[in-house]
């Protein structure tokens, strides 16, 4: 038994290890500082895509407004950094020194009340995690308690993303308007603009991504993960099994929001500014494409999806700027029509079996690497199922205790 369960652990972890090697060893060695920073930027979108795997892939809740939460996280971090960059010494040429430059341009003479708490780094960190969750909670209660779902929910989240963008652009004096919050310099006196700082931030970002990946893995493998799958298929049955369906939807939506916000905060740190272009409807839909391309049931797929689409975006848009948007649309349609499980599904169906031919059987676990729970539509236990005889209950229970662990 012990031997079997440790083997299962290895199965599920092998792909995590491969991804860790790519992010922490291959990328830093292969890329120069500029390119590495760009990959770091792509990886911040992976947080959002990961959140979408949870709430869309597993929970069946398609949100087209995840940019909102990415933006909240990003703006929280930007507000903190901006206040640090706007010390009275740095801003002595302004008519009101000590407030951010864009406020001064907009004839503000005092820091708005909601900016005050962002002087504190501890508050900023808490705000990055909690504010988006509170916002998601309010949306979730308003929608899910009334059983609004599916297309209606998608449209409403899209509208929220549009509203927030308009609000940010319109309130220029408080938010920096369409330019966003720019000219961010230091974090506790540590200059974030140097190559060295960017490399360190890249690793911090990668580490946080792994924390989120493991948290997502825990959720998916818990009973809550199976409930989400059950809910996606038969919401009524779950309800009549005694569960308050809306509370589970609200939870997973909030979790996705907080994860996205971490990505947003890391984006601000690595890129050095935050603007409404990362909040609105366009980027929100792009983020859904990252998730769909990676495979909406694969938490690691989200990371690969974000990397591949953004890498393609950068390369194509450099050569064919007009064609890129069409290519992106075609990519999304293609994935949905041909590979509903995205890259993860493609890998599982075609690439893994092909790779296996070159590798001794002993090492196949490195290639197949995915746990049953990550793809509930194709439980592995079925393929190797041996029907236990009715008398032999002990062995049946033995099967059980590892079949789902």
């Amino acid at each position: 038994m012990n031997k079997i369960s440790s083997l299962i652990e290895r199965y599920q972890l092998s792909h995590f290890i491969i991804l860790a090697v790519i992010i922490f060893i291959v990328m830093p060695l292969a890329l120069d500082s500029f390119r590495l920073n760009m990959v770091g930027k792509y990886l911040t979108y992976a947080f959002v895509a990961l959140g979408l795997v949870l709430c869309w892939g597993y929970g069946g809740i398609l949100s087209l407004g995840q940019g909102v939460f990415f933006g909240i996280g990003g703006y929280c971090m930007a507000m903190f950094l901006k206040l640090e960059a706007s010390s009275p010494e740095n801003t002595s040429i302004q008519s009101t020194p000590g407030i951010p430059d864009f406020m001064d341009w907009n004839q503000l003479t005092e820091l708005p009340w909601f900016w005050e708490p962002f002087h504190s780094f501890a508050f900023t960190i808490v705000a990055i995690l909690v504010l988006p969750a509170i916002f998601a909670f309010i949306i979730g209660v308003a929608m899910f308690k009334r059983r609004v779902g599916g297309v209606y929910f998608a449209i409403i989240t899209q509208a929220i993303a549009a509203i927030l963008t308009i609000l940010i652009i319109g309130q220029q004096g408080y938010t920096g308007g369409v330019n966003g919050i720019t000219d961010l310099r230091t974090l506790h006196g540590w200059d974030i603009r140097t190559d060295e700082a960017k490399t360190i931030l890249y690793f911090v970002n990668g580490a946080l991504l792994f924390v989120c990946l493991f948290a997502a893995r825990y959720i998916i493998r818990s009973k809550l993960g199976r409930l989400l799958v059950a809910m996606r298929e038969r919401e009524d049955r779950v309800r009549f099994s005694g569960y308050d369906v809306s509370s589970f939807k609200i939870f997973i939506f909030c979790a996705a929001a907080s994860i996205s916000a971490i990505g947003g905060a890391m984006f601000t740190l690595q890129v050095g500014f935050m603007s409404p272009t990362f909040v609105g409807t366009g980027p929100s839909i792009e983020m859904v494409i990252f998730c769909a391309l990676g495979g909406r049931l694969a938490i690691l797929g989200a990371v690969y999806g974000a990397l591949v689409v953004n890498w393609a975006k950068t390369s194509f848009s450099e050569s064919f700027p007009e064609l890129w948007l069409f290519a992106m649309g075609a990519l999304f349609i293609g994935v949905v029509m041909a590979f509903p499980n995205g890259l993860a599904g493609l890998y599982q169906t075609y690439i893994a079996p092909w790779l296996q031919r070159f590798v001794p059987e002993k090492f196949h676990w490195i290639i197949t690497g995915r746990s049953q729970e990550e793809n509930p539509e194709l439980p592995e236990s079925l393929q190797e199922e041996k029907e236990p005889s009715a008398e032999d209950k002990k062995s049946t229970q033995g099967d059980l205790s590892h079949a789902g662990n």
Partner: protein
């Protein structure tokens, strides 16, 4: 007549439905209906299509809200409760078409119905312990699926899916079990097994069944209620109901 009927008294009613009315845009699908179910009774509701049978179950389990009237389950008013609160009070409902989680295994289907860890925190920290394993095995044996626990539910036959859903209710241990056409689409031998199963599980609970199959009704029913146009047309033993001229006219004799 089963022995449970010998001590009829108001306190023995598990479920009392009184003056229940529901109207959809003026159409009264259920009209001033009253119904009393005793402890350990198997009550079968029959009636022609559109008589309001499924609507009655929907009203009891909270899927549809009543326009008027009261539904009391062990003294608790159900009409003001949410679906999951009604389940927690001890009412289980099986749907007409087998409603199971096809993507999950038989084991997982049963485990999700196990009444523990029903809130977010509970579900996140739920541990698969011996108690759960034993209970799932016990119920799976009862519903003839003891050797199919690792099978994906999608691959079960239609009859087995019906049993699985009954099992998902049993594991909740409800005091009132409501079944909407449990033997629809089953073979003759499966019907027999289901009748045995129902007779066995009713020792601890009351059962309310909607069924069209008259042979099956005769096999299991302690008492029968005939619905017609949202009202009770007749009530009593199968024998008595079958002889009731009103029933013969609207339903059995057509």
């Amino acid at each position: 007549m089963p022995e449970t009927n010998k001590h009829i008294g108001p306190k023995d009613f598990v479920l009392s439905v009184e003056g229940l009315t529901v109207s959809f845009d003026g159409f009264k699908a259920v009209n001033d209906l009253s119904l009393y179910v005793e402890e350990q009774e198997i009550r079968v509701i029959i009636g022609p299509n559109g008589a309001g049978k499924t609507t009655v179950l929907d009203l009891i389990c909270g899927r549809t809200k009543a326009t008027e009237g009261s539904i009391k389950f062990k003294g608790k008013e159900l009409t003001k409760m949410n679906e999951h609160q009604i389940v927690h009070a001890g009412v289980g409902r099986k749907f007409q078409n087998p409603s199971i989680y096809e993507d999950l295994t038989v084991y997982e289907n049963l485990e999700l119905s196990f009444p523990r860890g029903r809130n977010v925190w509970g579900a996140l920290t739920f541990r698969r312990d011996q108690e759960v394993l034993n209970k799932v095995q016990e119920v799976a044996d009862m519903i003839f699926l003891g050797d199919k626990l690792t099978m994906q539910a999608d691959l079960l036959s239609h009859g087995q899916k019906q049993w699985l859903e009954i099992g998902m209710l049993l594991i909740q241990d409800p005091e009132l079990l409501m079944l909407d056409e449990p033997v629809a689409g089953m073979s003759v031998s499966e019907r027999k097994q289901t009748a045995e199963l129902l007779n066995r599980i009713t020792k601890d609970r009351s059962v309310l069944v909607i069924e069209h199959d008259m042979q099956f009704v005769e096999d299991i029913a302690h008492r029968v209620t005939v619905l017609h146009q949202g009202k009770v047309l007749s009530e009593g033993s199968m024998e008595r109901v079958q002889k009731d001229p009103k029933v013969v006219e609207v339903y059995l004799g057509h």
